[in-house]
Symmetry: C2
Subunit: 410 residues, 2 copies
């Protein structure tokens, strides 16, 4: 198995050293979009095989499913990425030293990027498109739940590359879905420059602790919404509803609601009514005094990314307690406050340690597409290199080009 | 031991959460400079203890030594860092979405940064100053060779912090010099956000393979100078001399010289004369035909960072062979070409995979101070987050602050 994985990574590394023009890259992306459009029935067929073989919760089936609408959005995303400007070659900064040395800080591709992901098959296309547009080769290892869909999409892309006489290893698909394949892949630092694991807690922890390849985690989204004392109650209802209900299976949905004690009595009954028969609430003791029929939250609830129609609720004495709770339990992903108090917005924005911190808006906006990046390869919960939604720019590094005329150091 | 290290890291993390004004930070840096000036005799005395106890090569003794001149340069560096603008709070980008959400990408400190280094005691002060100026706490673990010097300098800094009523754990000094201390430190991902190891190959490899804290390597500098067919010979002599002889113990000095076959006969004898009785040359077979008295280079020579008065020499058939050799053996640090051919400059700048790529200049300029960064915490040979000389900006990450007025996702 090790040889098998090593050989695939070696081939990907070789592909990554090929320099393609942006015109060529765009032509490939367009052809991939056409190929997906042409073969959409077969994609849905492969996806149906995966869904039938799976034994997942409703929320996870939602992640796995590709229907016509979602395929259209994959194609749309390909076109958007094609139309973005490649960041490669951008001069980030340039300056001249007193000795006339000219220094340019120039964006270059990272090289070979391995992405380990779970049930969402659109990642296969998005990840390839973003890596390819930024002149990187990608090594994809999707979850077994989506194996047929991922395999078929990868084949469409590799076939397209070949019609352009481009090395198809720009997309290397790892067709082994057991944990052993991952254990070898994460040690391939000789060939892989960056590892992006997306998925559940145990997978990411396992990878982070054992990888020799540098890792940018796409860890869980344990996101909070804090309803401040001064919040507009209608807005607080709408934002909570959007952040929890619109798509609970995704990482930027909220899992815990923090409510200031002075607004809880007026706010929580209205929210409970809105959520009736949709969301299961689990409350702290103070919450239970207002909503006595609600299940009691345990310590474990504060640590849980439900990815489901469940929300834990905690009443806090002040904003500092809310921030403390978030910095203790949050996954540094997306956090929001609803407030009309200016000082509290600044406190929240500065003191909450997370990639995306919102005032009076839904956490659901944490997304490369929504941010205007065209698409995203995921949302980094790491602090280094890239934080929050990652797209083209985050898939590059830089080098310094220094031009002289004989300068030596004194 | 584990508890001891964990306790130190926990305290450092706590210090890192304190938000200080830049005015306060600058006052501390100024006071540290004054304290070093006031206590320079004692610093030299402590350094003498280290030198006497050590059993190092001439080049390594040079790294370890602090004399009046080097102390002056530490103080100068402190003043320079003080006068730099802190990058924290900088709005890197800002934009407004169609739905009126305002997104700001803002620079924030990384948090707690651990630096593992070897014999150079100025790192103690530089690392603290750069971390502190960018609002990070640092955890320092220097080599045993410089223990007395490092310990004394750390005490001066911690005492200064205390006179300002600032938590002295902004500089946490690990006073255990055995490998076990490192083995615990690199697993403290709960408290340490970034690990910067500087040093020899075995140390860095050990750390990279075992750390759970994200690592930016400051790996060896196996740097090359390529003398192209079209090089100006005088310039090629001066640059080779500067890049090898000026300070062979540092990472941006060259270890291997690559020479185009068509210039070798006129160039190498002149260089050999210049290097006579200073530098030991080790040549490939073709080199030996021109310089028959030179020792033969083995495969091992191409892989060796001598850090000493030794240079390996290889004659190549063309620029592609030179680039291939560099990309195979180089440590992605600093690489240079001497040429008068325009196309070759572009080929070299684009195809050599290194943090700093030079045309007609000495590799010795790879340095935060020379680049105009004020100082440096080291030179990253990693590709992620930061590459090449690292200073203030490279010690920050970012967060997105998003301000809305009730936006929910459609």
């Amino acid at each position: 198995m090790q040889n098998y994985i090593e050989n695939l990574c070696k081939k990907a590394k070789k592909a990554s050293q090929i320099q393609l023009s942006e015109k060529n890259i765009n032509a490939v992306l367009e052809a991939v979009a056409n190929s997906i459009e042409r073969n959409k029935n077969q994609i849905i067929e492969e996806n149906r095989k995966d869904i039938e073989a799976s034994n997942l919760s409703k929320a996870l089936i939602d992640r796995l499913t590709l229907n016509e609408k979602r395929i259209e959005s994959i194609i749309e995303s390909l076109n958007t990425i094609k139309n973005l400007k490649s960041p490669v070659g951008e001069v980030i900064k340039g300056w001249k030293l007193k000795n006339d040395l000219e220094i340019e800080k120039v964006r270059v591709p990272i090289g070979t990027i391995a992405i380990i992901y779970e049930a969402r098959p659109n990642v296969t296309v998005d990840a390839f498109a973003l890596c390819f547009k930024s002149s990187n080769a990608c090594v994809l290892r999707g979850g077994k739940e989506a194996f047929n869909t991922n395999k078929y999409l990868s084949t469409l892309i590799r076939d397209t590359l070949e019609t352009f006489n481009i090395n198809p290893d720009f997309l290397t698909f790892i067709d082994k879905t057991d944990r052993e394949a991952i254990n070898h892949l994460i040690k391939m630092d000789k060939y892989i420059d960056l590892l992006i694991p997306r998925g559940g807690e145990s997978l990411i922890t396992h990878i982070s602790y054992n990888a020799t390849v540098p890792v940018i985690q796409h860890y869980k989204g344990l996101c909070h919404l804090y309803i401040d004392e001064s919040a507009n109650i209608d807005m607080a209802i709408e934002i909570a509803n959007n952040a929890k209900v619109q798509r609970p299976s995704v990482c930027n949905a909220i899992e815990t609601l923090l409510v200031h004690k002075n607004i809880a009595k007026s706010y929580l009954p209205l929210l409970a009514k809105k959520f009736e028969s949709i969301i299961e609430l689990r409350g702290c003791e103070e919450t239970l005094k207002i909503l006595p029929y609600v299940k009691k939250a345990t310590q474990k609830d504060w640590q849980t990314e439900y990815l489901d129609y469940i929300l834990s609720v905690k009443i806090v004495n002040n904003i500092d307690e809310a921030i403390e709770h978030i910095n203790q339990y949050g996954s540094r992903h997306s956090e929001a406050i609803v407030t009309q108090n200016y000082a509290n917005t600044e406190t929240f924005l500065n003191k909450v340690d997370a990639a995306c911190v919102y005032v009076n808006a839904s956490t659901r906006f944490s997304d490369g597409g929504e941010f205007g990046f065209g698409a995203e390869i995921g949302i980094s919960t790491s602090k280094l290199h890239a934080r929050g939604p990652m797209a083209l720019e985050e898939l590059t590094t830089y080098k310094y080009k220094i031009r002289g005329n004989g300068q030596i150091r004194q």
